[in-house]
Amino acid sequence: MTQTLSTLGSDAPDASALSEAQLLDVYRTMRSIRAFEDRVHEEFATGEIPGFVHLYAGEEASATGVCAHLDQDRDTIASTHRGHGHCIAKGVDIKPMMAEIFGKTTGSCRGKGGSMHIADLSKGMLGANGIVGGGPPLICGTALAAKIKGDGGVGVAFFGDGASNQGTTMEALNLASVWDLPAFFVAENNGYGEAAASTWSVSADNIADRAAGFGMPGVIVDGFDFFAVYEAAGEAIRRAREGGGPSLLEVKFTRYYGHFEGDQQTYRGKDEVRNARENLDCIKRFRQGVTESGRLTDAQLDEVDAQVAQLIEEAVTEAKAAPVPGPKDLLTDVYVKY
C-alpha cells in the first residue's frame, strides 16, 4: 500500500493554490525554525544553555508542511526530543520557547521543562517528549477526543526513524486503525537514531512499508521539498478529518547538526551534511521555487529574514535577562489539588 506522491492523484491538496500570504507564512515558519536552531547551536556552544538540546535544522519542511494544515484549537500534535520545529510550526510563541530553553520563569513551561518538554496546550501542542515513542499513543487519545466530540479535529504524531522501532509507536498505529481514528503519523526519517543508521535499525526498506500491516496508507516524501510534504500531509489530514481514518507518512531527509549538541558525528559520512546543505536544503529550494515561478520576490523573502533575525535576537536577549525560577516555584504545579 506504500505510495509515492505521484500516485496520490487528484485528491491531493494543491500547493500551487497557496496564496502569496500563505507562502510568506510558510517561509517565515521555516526561516524561524532555522534561525532559532542556528542560534541555539551558538548559544549552547558558549555554555549558556543547560541540559540536552536536539536541533531540527534541515527538517523544517516537515513540521511546516504538516502543520500548515492544522488548526490550533481542534488539532493536536505530539512531538519528540527534537521538538523546536514542531512547536514553532504549530504556533507556539518563540520568545517563551527561547526563555524555556534557558530555564527562565518567562519560558513556555516557566523553566520547569526545558528544551525536551516545551509544550503549549493552548496551541494544541502536547509537548516535546524525552521518551522516544512517547507521543504516538498520546495522539490516539487526542484523536479519540476529537472523534468523540465530533469537532473534526485531527491528532498528529511526529516521530523519528529510531522511534519507528519502538513498540509504543507500533501499538499506536494499530490502535488508531482499529479505532478508525482521525490520526496522522509522521515518521521523520533523518537517517539516524542517535548514531545508528535508519537503514540498519528499520528492518524494512522504508518505514512507510509498515503501514500496510496496520491497514493504513503509507506514503514516502522527499523531506527537503516543502511542497511535497505539504501535499502528502494535506491529503492524509483531509482524509482523517472526513472520517477516512489514519495514515502514515514517511518524510526522508537529513539532520544538519549532531544528534544532540556536543555530538562529534564521526559516525556520519564526510560529505553527508555539506551535500544536503548545499544541494538539498528545503529553504533554499523553496526560495528558488517561489522566486523562479514569480510567486514571491527576493525582496519579500529578505524582509522576512530580517524580521526573523530580529525576533530571534530579541528572544535571546530577553531570555538571558529574564529571572530564574525561585524556591517557591519548586513545589508548585505538581497537582491541580493535593
Binding site: 513551561c109 502536547l126 509537548g127 524525552g130 499513543p137 498520546l138 487519545g141 468523540i148 493535593y338
Partner: protein
C-alpha cells in the same frame, strides 16, 4: 442516605454508571470492557474480565471502548484524551501489566503538569486489579501501589469496602489529576451497605474504621478487613486497637495517623505489598520522623516476605498477611520494653 447491600463489583459498576450519566466527558476503555468486539455472538458478552463493567456498553453508546491488547497504546490514549477535555477511565486489567505501559503513567501523565509549568490538566483514572488470594501466581497477584505512590504527580487510591470503592471511584473520576485506582481482585463479591445515590469520598482523608486505645493499626485496602478480624481476636486479650484506613496513599493523611499515635503510642502498619520500600515502611518512617516522642514501642510492619507471590494455595495463604500476623505484631508492640 438510604443504603442497601451490594457487592464491591456492583458498587464500582454503579459509580461508573452514575459518573457517565452526570458527565458526558467520562468514557471507559479497556480490554473487553465493552464485552468483546467483532465476534459473531452476543454484544456485551463480557464486562471486562471479571464482569465489572457489564451493561455499560448498552447504556452509553460510543463511550465504552474495547481495546486490542495494547496497554501502552490505550493507556497512552487515555492520557492523551484527558489532556483534550475527556475524563477517561481506563481499565488496566491487572496492575501487574503496568510493566508494559508504565512510561505513559510515570513519564507522561504524572509529569505533564510540572514539566509544562502548570499548564496541563490530565484527569485520567486508571482502574486496576491488585492483590493475592485467587491463586493467580506471581504475574497476576502483585500489589504494586508502592511504585505509584513513589511517583510524584500521581494519586493512588486503595478502597477497602463496597462503600469506599463507590465513593472513591466517583471522586477519582471527578478529580483533575491522574489517579491510579486499585481494586482488590478477591473483594469483588464482598458485600456491604452502599447508598444508591451518587456520593464522593474526598482524597487525603483517612477513615478511622474502629476506635481503640492501645495500638494504632494502619491497614491498606483488603488488609482493613483482616485488621478488623484481628481486632476481634484481640478483644479477648483486652487489647483495643484503633484501625485507620488511609483510603488514599497519595495524598496521604498523615495527620489522622499522628493523632491516633499520639493517643496510643504504638503503631502497626499492615500492607499486602512486598516489604521493601512499601507503604508500611513509608508510613512507619514518616510517623517516626514526626512523632518519635509519642512512641512507646517500635513501629512494626506486617507485610509479606520478600518473594514473588506463589501459586500453590498452601504457600499463598502463608504469603498474605493474616489476622494472626497482625495479632502477633500488636502483641509485640504492646509487650515491648527496652
Amino acid at each position: 442516605m438510604a443504603t442497601r447491600k451490594i457487592s464491591y463489583r456492583e458498587a464500582i459498576n454503579e459509580a461508573l454508571t452514575q459518573e457517565m450519566e452526570r458527565d458526558s466527558s467520562v468514557i471507559i476503555m479497556g480490554e473487553d470492557v465493552a464485552g468483546g468486539a467483532g465476534g459473531q455472538g452476543e454484544d456485551d458478552a463480557w464486562g471486562g474480565v471479571l464482569g465489572v463493567t457489564k451493561g455499560l456498553y448498552g447504556k452509553f453508546p460510543g463511550r465504552v471502548l474495547d481495546t486490542p491488547i495494547t496497554e501502552s497504546g490505550y493507556i497512552g490514549a487515555a492520557v492523551g484524551a484527558a489532556t483534550r477535555g475527556l475524563r477517561p477511565v481506563a481499565e488496566l486489567m491487572f496492575i501487574d501489566f503496568a510493566g508494559v505501559c508504565l512510561d505513559q503513567i510515570m513519564n507522561q501523565a504524572a509529569k505533564f503538569r510540572y514539566m509544562f509549568g502548570g499548564k496541563a490538566v490530565t484527569p485520567v483514572t486508571i482502574r486496576a486489579m491488585y492483590g493475592g488470594g485467587l491463586r493467580a501466581a506471581a504475574q497476576h497477584s502483585q500489589a504494586l501501589y508502592p511504585l505509584f505512590t513513589h511517583l510524584p504527580g500521581l494519586k493512588v487510591v486503595v478502597p477497602s469496602s463496597p462503600y469506599e470503592v463507590k465513593g472513591l471511584l466517583a471522586q477519582s473520576i471527578r478529580d483533575d489529576d491522574p489517579v491510579i485506582f486499585f481494586e482488590h481482585k478477591a473483594m469483588y463479591d464482598v458485600t456491604g451497605e452502599v447508598p444508591q445515590e451518587s456520593y464522593t469520598i474526598p482524597f487525603g482523608e483517612a477513615n478511622v474504621v474502629r476506635e481503640g486505645d492501645d495500638v494504632t493499626v494502619v491497614a491498606i485496602g483488603r488488609m482493613v478487613s483482616v485488621a478488623e478480624e484481628a481486632a476481634k481476636e484481640l478483644e479477648g486479650s483486652g487489647i483495643s486497637i484503633e484501625i485507620i484506613d488511609p483510603r488514599t496513599l497519595s495524598p496521604l493523611d498523615l495527620d489522622t495517623i499522628l493523632e491516633s499515635v499520639e493517643n496510643t503510642g504504638r503503631l502497626v502498619v499492615v500492607d499486602e505489598a512486598s516489604p521493601r520500600c512499601n507503604i508500611a515502611t513509608d508510613i512507619s518512617a514518616q510517623v517516626v520522623s514526626e512523632a518519635f516522642g509519642d512512641l512507646k514501642a517500635p513501629v512494626k510492619m506486617v507485610s509479606p516476605p520478600h518473594v514473588p507471590v506463589p501459586f500453590a494455595g498452601s504457600l499463598e495463604d502463608l504469603y498474605i498477611p493474616s489476622a494472626q500476623d497482625i495479632v502477633n505484631a500488636v502483641k509485640t508492640v504492646t509487650e515491648w520494653s527496652k
